[in-house]
């Protein structure tokens, strides 16, 4: 960084001289040069004017100012070794966040898979329930058919619905006239005629098309007879 004109001085030395930071030995040689070099003298004067301006500004406006009192909140310094900060730093790292999210999604998927598998195996188990073996006494003559049928009807795996529609044995055929089916029983419970609610509004009567379907799960007589025939043979 030369000062340009005569390349006789370096700006750094000029600045050092202005701020009185030039070593004593260099200072004497610089001063002797300054007396003989007009360009260096001119530059020295320019820089000195600038320096004087800043110096006066500092002296007039800053020096009279008192140093303000600075309040430091000593209560809330952030301790470096805070375990909470360490945990926070560990958990909230972006890479770890995405990893945790992925792991959570995988866990949810695994739970869903296990749940679905369990429910399917339950369905299979229901389908795989073996039908109870019905041991029938081998009838010795055709007149025992009715007796065998009554034994079958008394078997424990026959449900109430089956009992609601008894087989057409001689004895039961008479009962069937007396014992109502489920549909008949519900129909009997339905209000007959026009009834009123507690507030006096008419109860809506069942309309056509709102009938109830009852699955017929009863044993068929024909199948039973065929079964008995097969035992005979």
């Amino acid at each position: 960084m030369r000062n340009g004109k005569d390349s006789c001085l370096f700006g750094e030395e000029l600045v050092s001289y202005i701020y009185d930071e030039l070593p004593t030995s260099e200072r004497h040689s610089f001063e002797s040069h300054l007396l003989n070099c007009s360009s260096c003298t001119a530059e020295f004067a320019e820089l000195s004017v600038s320096r004087l301006g800043v110096y006066e500004w500092h002296r007039d406006e800053f020096v009279p100012l008192e140093t303000p009192r600075f309040a430091i909140p000593y209560v809330s310094p952030e301790p470096v070794s805070s375990w909470l900060r360490a945990v926070r730093g560990f958990v909230f790292t972006p890479a770890r966040l995405s990893f945790a999210g992925g792991a959570f999604a995988l866990a949810i998927m695994a739970l869903g898979f296990v749940y679905l598998t369990d429910s399917n195996s339950g369905a299979v188990a229901v389908n795989q329930v073996e039908a109870p073996v019905i041991e029938l006494a081998r009838p010795e003559n055709p007149t025992d058919v009715a007796k065998v049928a009554s034994e079958v009807s008394a078997d424990k795996f026959i449900t109430d619905k089956v009992l609601a529609q008894p087989m057409l044995t001689k004895e039961n055929s008479e009962k069937s006239e007396r014992r109502p089916t489920l549909v008949q029983a519900k129909a009997a419970q339905k209000p007959s005629g026009r009834q009123l609610t507690a507030r006096g509004n008419p109860v809506k009567a069942p309309r056509l098309g709102t009938f109830e379907e009852v699955e017929d799960t009863s044993l068929r007589l024909a199948d039973l007879v065929a079964d008995i025939d097969s035992y005979r043979k």
Partner: protein
């Protein structure tokens, strides 16, 4: 209690167990940091705010202080950043500031006539112009001028604080004074 300890030891103490040790650092540097802020911003109230925020920011970030830098360098860097933040904030509020050179000169002359007493001296007006001229310097040049003139630091201290070579400090100061002279050419200066 803490007067014998170095700045670095004080920071270490403040981080570990005794936050009050930072008070000694504040006591040591408050005048210089306030001077730096005043030189950078040119206004007392802004300088006070900047210095206050700088010390608070330094205290809150004590844990981030690395021992490889000097405490003075670290404080100066924080203070200069706070000054720049305050200037930026003020600029968004469209306030008057030093670096607004083109409009600033007209405004200052109007302001001087309006707010100063009638016997305001030429010297006071010149101070206003110098303040504006310093404010219009680039930050790196302004910082060196302010550290030299307001903080009364040696070239070597500035070099250590800013962590730049000694020759860079001198060349920056040389350039800054040259630019200041060109900005102050219209202002008569009495030498000697």
């Amino acid at each position: 209690m803490f007067t014998d300890l170095t700045d670095e030891k004080l920071v270490e103490l403040a981080v570990r167990s005794e936050p009050e040790a930072f008070g000694e650092i504040v006591k040591r540097w408050e005048r210089k940091i306030f001077a730096l802020c005043f030189g950078m911003l040119g206004r007392e109230d802004d300088a006070r705010d900047a210095a206050q925020e700088a010390f608070v920011a330094a205290y809150k970030n004590l844990g981030n202080f690395r021992g490889d830098a000097k405490v003075s360098s670290w404080l100066h860097r924080i203070a200069v950043n706070q000054c720049l933040t305050i200037k930026r904030r003020a600029r968004t509020r469209a306030e008057e500031f030093l670096d607004d050179e083109n409009h600033g000169e007209d405004r200052v002359f109007v302001a001087a006539a309006a707010h100063s007493p009638s016997n305001r001296t030429e010297e006071a007006e010149r101070n206003v112009l110098v303040r504006q001229a310093v404010g219009s310097l680039p930050v790196d040049l302004r910082q060196v001028v302010v550290m030299k003139e307001f903080e009364d630091m040696t070239f070597q201290e500035i070099s250590d604080t800013l962590e730049i070579p000694l020759s860079t400090v001198k060349s920056r100061l040389y350039t800054a004074l040259k630019q200041l002279r060109s900005k102050l050419e219209r202002v008569p200066m009495e030498i000697g």
